[in-house]
């Protein structure tokens, strides 16, 4: 588990006291094959070969936000909270633009023993928190303790269930030994999720978002924050990545209203915005000096059928419903084409994703015969939905229309979010929902096993132990090739019998002023705007 090429360049540049770009330029002049041609091409493609400039105040309008906004290194409530977390906090490991796990975070080493149940974490040398405290082993231990604290119920804690709170030991100033309850192949994924931020010892121990001072190791320090309105962040002069960040400051502004947000970008009140409604893409692209940044995601708005409730407890009915969906049409009509067709399987960015599963197509004739065999020729079902994310209501309506061809009557019930996410949430027999980008096993933990916090489909069937057995086996298998084989078996089970209709993955549509540089199109991010510029450190004004 070595660092990737980019990191090696970073490391070397830091030692020589020059920026990565400068180093590359000098290397090119001197004809040195420093990073290898592959590495150079990759860097050139990533658009960071251009020389970044320092200075300026970056203003970004983020969709959503309300008076319940918080800033916490390990939790979020609203969408702007994500941007604020990214500006101030960092994780031990991270994901690159292809959603591959990279050792580009605070950890210089994070390696398992042979069995996979003891991990050694060593943080980089000389990283400082915003208050001047040097990052050390005790901060890592404190952060992990806080993440899994059952009283705080933090967002990122669920994925770290294998961490034994009594099994963390400080070996030296920068090294922690982590004993897990059982071998866990997903621990790196869990530590790489953006909500697993590393916070200093004593950081807001009993509440979320109440830290004073609210400090992390990130590129920007928090200056002021008004929930529901905006936060102001200033450049962290002691930031550990050489040369970064480039802005003097960042202002993150809440913009719940779509029209207002787009107008703010067009009018020049902000330099970038998230979530452009598909209908407005043409308007933004048509304006000189403004552009839309489109990035694929692995976020999905499935139709969820409860496998333990009639009529969907009959696997034939579930299969029929899946055969009813005309996925390309759903992507075209519900997402205005700004997305990718799904195959009833989540986690397409995962290297473990099984691309060999045949793409499922609409087949009304087969759907009808399956329904007939199941005695549901004139099936009528209610489909509950809410305006939670783009694609939920739209997908439900397009599906309802497609179902008519198979003689299935789908009554779309659009509820207010209070009712939808109320007492009945996760109990609706047939509903829509929204999931973000995750790797396969992390997603299984979050939504496809009985202990998952959000298992809408109640998969797997209580009588069927096979899926759970495979899941436990996969977690314990550190060997990647062997683990992928097990994961493929699990995927096949879900693909054949599962309760999700996964028809597509929506793209992020963000807008920016063309004076903004450093944006990478096609970044497979978890969050908008290239994961908010990894904390607004990869953007600059040209």
């Amino acid at each position: 588990m070595r660092e990737d090429e980019l990191d090696r360049i970073d490391e070397e540049a830091r030692q020589r006291g020059i920026s990565r770009e400068e180093l590359l330029k000098r290397a090119a002049v001197a004809g040195l094959a420093l990073a290898g041609s592959g590495g150079l091409a990759q860097i050139a493609r990533a658009g960071i070969a251009a020389t970044p400039k320092r200075g300026g105040q970056f203003r970004v309008g983020v969709a959503g936000g309300s008076s319940s906004d918080i800033i916490d290194g390990q939790d979020i409530v609203t969408n702007p909270d994500q941007a604020r977390l990214m500006a101030g906090f960092e994780t031990l490991v991270g994901f690159d633009k292809n959603f591959k796990l990279k050792f580009n975070g605070l950890a210089e080493e994070l390696s398992p023993n042979k069995k996979g149940d003891v991990w050694t974490i060593r943080v980089r040398h000389g990283i400082e928190f915003h208050n001047g405290k040097t990052l050390g082993a005790e901060d890592v231990i404190y952060s992990l303790h806080r993440l899994i604290d059952p009283k705080l119920k933090l967002f990122g804690g669920a994925a770290l269930s294998s961490v034994n709170p009594h099994g963390m030991k400080k070996l030296d100033k920068r090294t922690v030994r982590l004993h897990l309850k059982h071998p866990d192949a997903t621990i790196l994924d869990a530590l790489g999720q953006y909500v697993a931020g590393i916070v200093p010892v004593g950081y807001s121990p009993h509440a979320i978002g109440k830290a004073k001072p609210n400090v992390g190791t990130g590129p920007y320090k928090l200056k002021s924050f008004t929930p529901g309105q905006q936060s102001v962040h200033v450049r962290n002069p002691n930031y550990w990545r050489h040369g970064q960040p480039y802005f003097d400051g960042v202002v993150i502004i809440d913009f719940p209203d779509d029209t207002a947000r787009v107008n703010a970008l067009l009018g020049g009140q902000v330099d970038a915005i998230t979530n452009i409604p598909p209908a407005q893409v043409g308007i933004v692209n048509g304006r000189s000096g403004r552009k839309v940044l489109e990035s694929p995601t692995a976020q999905w708005t499935p139709l969820c059928m409860r496998v333990d409730t009639a009529p969907f407890n009959d696997a034939r009915v579930r299969k029929a419903m899946r055969l009813i969906a005309d996925r390309p049409q759903m992507v075209k009509q519900a997402l205005s084409g700004h997305g990718h067709v799904g195959n009833d399987m989540y986690a397409p960015f995962d290297t473990a994703y099984d691309h060999a599963l045949p793409q499922r197509h609409q087949d009304i004739a087969q759907a009808k015969s399956l329904l007939k065999a199941a005695g549901q020729t004139h099936l009528t079902v209610d489909l509950q939905s809410t305006n939670g994310a783009l694609g939920m209501n739209e997908g439900a309506q397009v599906f309802a229309q497609q179902a008519r061809a198979a003689g299935v009557k789908v009554n779309v019930k659009i509820l207010d979010s209070g009712t939808f996410y109320g007492a009945q949430y996760l109990k609706w027999p047939f509903s829509t929902d929204f999931w973000g980008t995750r790797n396969y096993l992390s997603q299984v933990a979050a939504g496809s096993i009985p202990t998952s916090p959000y298992n809408e489909t109640h998969w797997p069937d209580a009588a069927d132990r096979k899926f759970l057995t495979l899941y436990r086996e996969a977690l314990r298998t550190i060997n990647r090739k062997k683990r992928y084989e097990i994961e493929h078996e699990m995927m096949k089970l879900e693909y054949d019998h599962g309760g999700y209709i996964i028809w597509g993955f929506s793209n992020f549509l963000d807008g920016y002023n063309t004076k903004l540089r450093g944006l990478v199109p096609g970044w497979k991010g978890v969050m908008q705007l290239n994961n908010f510029g990894s904390g607004f450190r990869t953007f600059w004004f040209g």
Binding site: A279, Q280, Q333, Q397, V398
Partner: protein
């Protein structure tokens, strides 16, 4: 006794049929009434016959979302790519049906309460009218939202709530108009004859307040159309994928700047419909008050 009845009969009888016919005739002479009736006919016609001329199934996908007008979609497509023209032609039925039903409920309840109030006077009158005042004091849209969010978006509930919020105004007008009628001799005569109370209210008093009621009915219809369209716009009326004018405005507001027809058509239709009904109401009220009378009556 029989003398009083005989004296009252010639007074009351000719009045029975006449007021409403006279009113309608007088109102029709006013240009505003004609324009109002024309608009009403146009929109009711669109709503009732329009669906037969729709080029597409209102729920079928005809093009990309917010497709530009042209080809088989003369008014372009909506947020999901459905034909705007077809949805517009299909979308008037529900709003017309619901608002007419709501107005009818409001009229029946309001007239009953108003008549009982005017006739009984005393404590019952006070209690009924204060209850009406309380309902009036609440903004009707808030009442409707409270009801819908507790029970859920049901069409019968919308009709009932809009009917109930229509009721107090009708009751007040009815009571005001009949308060003076109740004092008349023929009513007292009928009372003396021992006519059943219901028959007395509906047979003797009601026919004499038809003019103000006609005016009120058309104004209440205007108001019901507006309220029901607003509730649909907020997502509490017809549920997707149904085509409905109010819902269309909501569904397509995102695309107003690039493909405005999905919003403009229902907005224009609802506007013309309310203008039509209120012009008719205005015509009726002017005719009944004797304004603009051209003579000859």
């Amino acid at each position: 006794m029989s003398g009083v009845a005989a004296a009252a009969a010639p007074l009351a009888l000719p009045k029975r049929r006449r007021p409403i016919v006279v009113l309608l005739r007088r109102a029709w002479r006013l240009p505003r009434t004609k324009v109002g009736v024309l608009l009403m006919l146009l929109l009711v016609g669109t709503a009732l016959i329009g669906p037969f001329f729709a080029p597409h199934d209102p729920a079928a996908f005809a093009n990309i979302p917010y497709g530009k007008p042209g080809g088989s979609t003369p008014l372009g497509t909506d947020a999901l790519g459905r034909d705007v023209l077809s949805r517009f032609l299909w979308g008037g039925r529900s709003i017309l049906g619901l608002s007419t039903a709501a107005t009818a409920i409001g009229l029946v309840l309001g007239v009953s309460i108003g008549l009982v109030s005017a006739y009984s006077r005393g404590l019952l009158d006070d209690v009924l009218m204060r209850i009406m005042d309380v309902i009036l004091a609440f903004p009707s849209i808030v009442l409707a939202l409270v009801a819908v969010s507790t029970v859920g978006p049901k069409l019968w509930l919308i009709v009932l709530v809009v009917g109930l919020t229509t009721m107090p105004r009708v009751a007040r007008v009815t009571r005001g108009a009949s308060a003076e009628i109740v004092e008349r001799d023929f009513v007292q005569a009928a009372e003396a004859l021992g006519e059943p109370r219901a028959k007395l209210l509906l047979g003797e008093i009601l026919p004499n307040i038809t003019s103000p009621l006609m005016v009120e009915a058309s104004l209440r219809l205007t108001y019901a159309i507006g309220l029901i369209a607003s509730l649909s716009f907020l997502g509490f009326g017809e549920q997707p994928p149904a085509a409905d004018w109010g819902l269309m405005i909501n569904e397509n507001q995102q695309g107003l700047t690039i493909q405005p027809w999905g919003v403009l058509m229902p907005v224009i239709a609802i506007a013309l419909l309310t203008i039509g009904t209120s012009l008719i109401g205005d015509g009726l009220s002017r005719a009944s008050a004797g304004i603009d009378r051209t003579g000859g009556e």
